[in-house]
Symmetry: C2
C-alpha cells in the first residue's frame, strides 16, 4: 500500500493521520523525529546552521553512516534543509526548515523536561531495582 493509499483509507470522520494506526505514514515520520539520532539531530540544529562534521561532534556517539541516514530521512520529510555550496572542496550546510523548527521546539521541550526530572527518574530506578533485589 502506498502512503497516499494508506492516508486515503483513513476516512474523513477521524483525524486523517493517526500514529497509533500501524500503516499511517505519520508513524514513520514520528519515528524519524523521535528516533535515537533523529531527536538529537533536530535538537542540535535548533537555532544552528551546521556542517556535517560539526553536527557529528555535537551528537556525541553517532557514526558517520547513521548521521547520514538520519539527515536523509529528515530532509526527505521536509524537516531539514541541505545546502551544498559550489566551492572546492564542496561545503554542505544543514539547517532546519520552518516545519523542522516547530518540531524541534516541541522536542526540546520534551528533552528539557526529561533532563530536568532525571533525579526523580534515578530515584525511581533505585526503588525498582531495590524491590527486585538487583
Amino acid at each position: 500500500m502506498s502512503e497516499a493509499e494508506a492516508a486515503t483509507e483513513l476516512d474523513g470522520s477521524a483525524p486523517p493521520f493517526d500514529v497509533f494506526a500501524r500503516q499511517c505514514p505519520s508513524r514513520g515520520t514520528l519515528e524519524h523525529v523521535t528516533g535515537r539520532w533523529g531527536s538529537l539531530t533536530l535538537g542540535a540544529l535548533s537555532g544552528n546552521r551546521l556542517r556535517f562534521n560539526e553536527l557529528r561532534r555535537r551528537v556525541d556517539g553517532v557514526s558517520e553512516k547513521m548521521l547520514s541516514q538520519t539527515l536523509h530521512a529528515l530532509e526527505r520529510d521536509g524537516l531539514v534543509h541541505r545546502e551544498a555550496q559550489p566551492t572546492n572542496p564542496p561545503r554542505v550546510d544543514y539547517e532546519l526548515t520552518p516545519l523542522g523548527h516547530e518540531v524541534a521546539g516541541r522536542l526540546l521541550g520534551l528533552i528539557q523536561l526529561v533532563e530536568g526530572r532525571m533525579p526523580e527518574v534515578l530515584d525511581a530506578r533505585g526503588r525498582y531495582d531495590g524491590a527486585r533485589g538487583a
Copy 2:
C-alpha cells in the same frame, strides 16, 4: 551552542544532565520515552488506565514481548505505575505516574503537530523523490 551550554557560560554551574552527552543517563530515558513503542505506549496511557491487552490493541502492531519490555522500562523510570489486583485470575492495570503524565503531555503535543502537518511532509517526500527520479 545549546541554551543549556549558554546558561553554563553565564553562571558557571554545569547542567547536571545532558542528552547530547553519550554517557548521560538522560539519553537512555529519552530513548525509552521517544522510542518506537515507548512514545505510543505513553500516548495510549494518557488519560487512561488500561490492562495489558487493552494497551496492546491500542498500540497497533506491537508484539507482546515488545510491549512487555517497553512497560518494564517505563515503570523502572517512574513514568508508568503497574498495579496487580489480587484477583483470580490476576488483573494488572497500567497507568501514568504524575511524571509520566507530564512527559506524555509534551509527547502528545509533538504527536499532534506531526499528525497535523503530514500533508506538508508527504509533499516534501514527493519533491525529494521526484528530484532523484525515484
